[in-house]
Amino acid sequence: MSYLRHIMALVQKDIIAELRTKEMLNSMLIFALLTMVMFNFAFGSSSAMKAVSSGLLWIAFLFASLLGLNRIFVHEKDENCLDGLMLCPIDRSAIYFSKAISSFIFLSLVEIIALPIFTIFFIQESFLSHLWLLIIILVLSNIGLSVVGTLLSAISINTKARDLMLPILFLPVIVPILVAAVKSTELVLSVSSIDTQQFWIDITVWLRTLAIYDIIFALVGFLTFEYVIEE
C-alpha cells in the first residue's frame, strides 16, 4: 500500500507544481492547436483531408507529448531533487510509474481540449456512435507514449544535449504505437464507410497491438528504471 501512496504523492506533487507554472501544459497545448490550424489552412476542405486526418491528429499529439516528456524530469534535475527522491526509502520504480502517470494526465488534458477542435476542422462524417472506441485508442496510445517516453526521458536527462537526445531515442521506438494509433483512429473516423465485420476484425488487431506494446514497455521501464537513474 505504501508503494501506491508514494506514487500518489509523487503525482500530486507534479500536478501541483505544473498547475502553478503551467509551463509544460501551455507549450503542449499551443503546439497541438497551432499544428491543427496550420494543417487546416494547408488542406482546406480537399478530398485528401479525409485520408490524412488521423495522421495529422497523431502528428499533433506525438510532438505535443515530446514537448511534455522533455520537461517531465526537469523539476527533478533542478537543485538535484532526483537525489532527494533517491534518498527516500521508496522503491525507485515508484518514481518511474508516477512520472508516467503524470505524463499521461498532462497529455490527456491536452487531447481533451484539442480533440473537439480537430473534429471541427477535419471531420465531416459523424463517428459519435464510436467515440468510446476513439477514447480507448487515445488511452492506450497515451499509456504507450508515457511509459516509453518517461524511461527515455530519464536516460536523456543526464546527457548534455538532452533536448535533442529524447527525440532521437523516442521516435524510432514508438513507431509501432504510432502506426497502430493512426490506423485504428482512421478506422474509427471512417466507420460509416467500412464493412462492420471487417471493421471489428481490424480494430481488434490494432487495439491488441497497442495493449501488448503498453504492457511490454511498462515492464521494461519497471525493471530498468533503477539502473537508468543510478550513477
Partner: protein, 240 residues
C-alpha cells in the same frame, strides 16, 4: 579503542569512473554517536564517499555495513536511517515550504507529519514563511529549509557534504546550533569540508582523505587548527 562493533564499517572500498580510480581501497570505521569530519583536497573523493554511503551511487568493490545492514542488500533500511545535507537544496522551487516538507514526509512514511513540520520550521526560523513558494526565498532561507528537509524523519545518521558552502551568517548560525544539538542527541555524523576551523569546531574525530584513501585519522584529543594544518599539509600536500 571501543570493543563494540563500529556503527559504520567501510572495508576496502573502490570506486572507478571509467579508468579513473576515485576511491582506492578506502577503509574506515565510525562509532555510534561519533562526529567525524573528513578533510581533503578537491577531487580527493569526499563527495563520492558520502554519495556512496547515502546509497546515491554504487561502488566497484569492497563492502559497507551500516548498523548491521549491508548497503547493497538493504538500501531501503539504510535510507530510513540517514539524512543528507549538501550545498544542493533537494527542494522543489515551485512548491511552498510546507508542501515541500509534507511531500518528503509522505516519502518517508511519517504518519502525521504536521507536528514535525511545524517543529522543524520553527527551528530553522521559517514558520512565518511556510506558505511562500521556495523559489521566492533567499539562498540562505532555502538552505535552512533544506536542513529541515534532511531532518524530517529524525535520522540517526547525518551526512553533511560541504554544508556551510554558500550559507549566509544567519543560516551558518542555525546550522552550528543544530550540529551541537545532534552531538548531544547521540546522532552519528560524517561531515566533509575544506574549512579546518569549522571542521574541528564540531568534530570528535577527524580523517584526511587523499588519493582515494584515508591517509590520516584521529579519534578524540584533536589537535588545534594550527597543528592540524601542518598535519594536513604533510598528508594531503595541499592547502586547506
Amino acid at each position: 579503542m571501543s570493543k563494540t562493533p563500529p556503527f559504520i564499517c567501510i572495508d576496502s572500498l573502490d570506486k572507478d569512473f571509467g579508468r579513473r580510480k576515485v576511491l582506492n581501497g578506502l577503509s574506515l570505521d565510525v562509532c555510534k554517536g561519533e562526529f567525524l569530519t573528513i578533510f581533503g583536497p578537491n577531487g580527493a573523493g569526499k563527495t563520492t564517499l558520502l554519495r556512496i554511503l547515502s546509497t546515491l551511487s554504487g561502488f566497484s568493490s569492497g563492502s559497507i555495513v551500516i548498523d548491521g545492514f549491508e548497503i547493497k542488500e538493504n538500501p531501503a533500511e539504510i535510507r530510513e536511517k540517514i539524512g543528507f545535507i549538501s550545498h544542493n537544496l533537494l527542494l522543489y522551487k515551485d512548491l511552498n515550504a510546507y508542501e515541500n516538507l509534507r511531500f518528503y514526509g509522505k516519502m518517508y512514511n511519517i504518519p502525521s507529519p504536521e507536528n514535525r513540520i511545524s517543529e522543524l520550521l520553527q527551528k530553522v526560523e521559517l514558520d512565518h514563511r511556510k506558505f511562500d513558494v521556495v523559489g521566492s526565498f533567499s539562498r540562505g532561507m532555502q538552505q535552512r529549509l533544506s536542513i529541515a528537509r534532511a531532518l524530517l524523519h529524525n535520522p540517526e545518521i547525518i551526512f553533511l557534504d560541504e554544508p556551510f558552502s554558500g550559507l549566509d551568517v544567519h543560516a551558518s548560525g542555525v546550522l552550528d546550533d543544530m550540529l551541537e544539538d545532534f552531538k548531544k542527541g547521540n546522532h552519528t555524523l560524517i561531515m566533509t569540508t575544506h574549512n579546518i576551523e569549522i571542521g574541528l569546531a564540531h568534530a570528535n574525530s577527524v580523517a584526511i582523505l587523499s588519493g582515494g584513501k584515508i591517509v590520516y585519522s584521529k579519534r578524540g584529543n584533536l589537535p588545534d587548527s594550527d597543528d592540524f594544518k601542518s598535519i594536513y599539509y604533510e598528508y594531503a600536500g595541499d592547502k586547506a
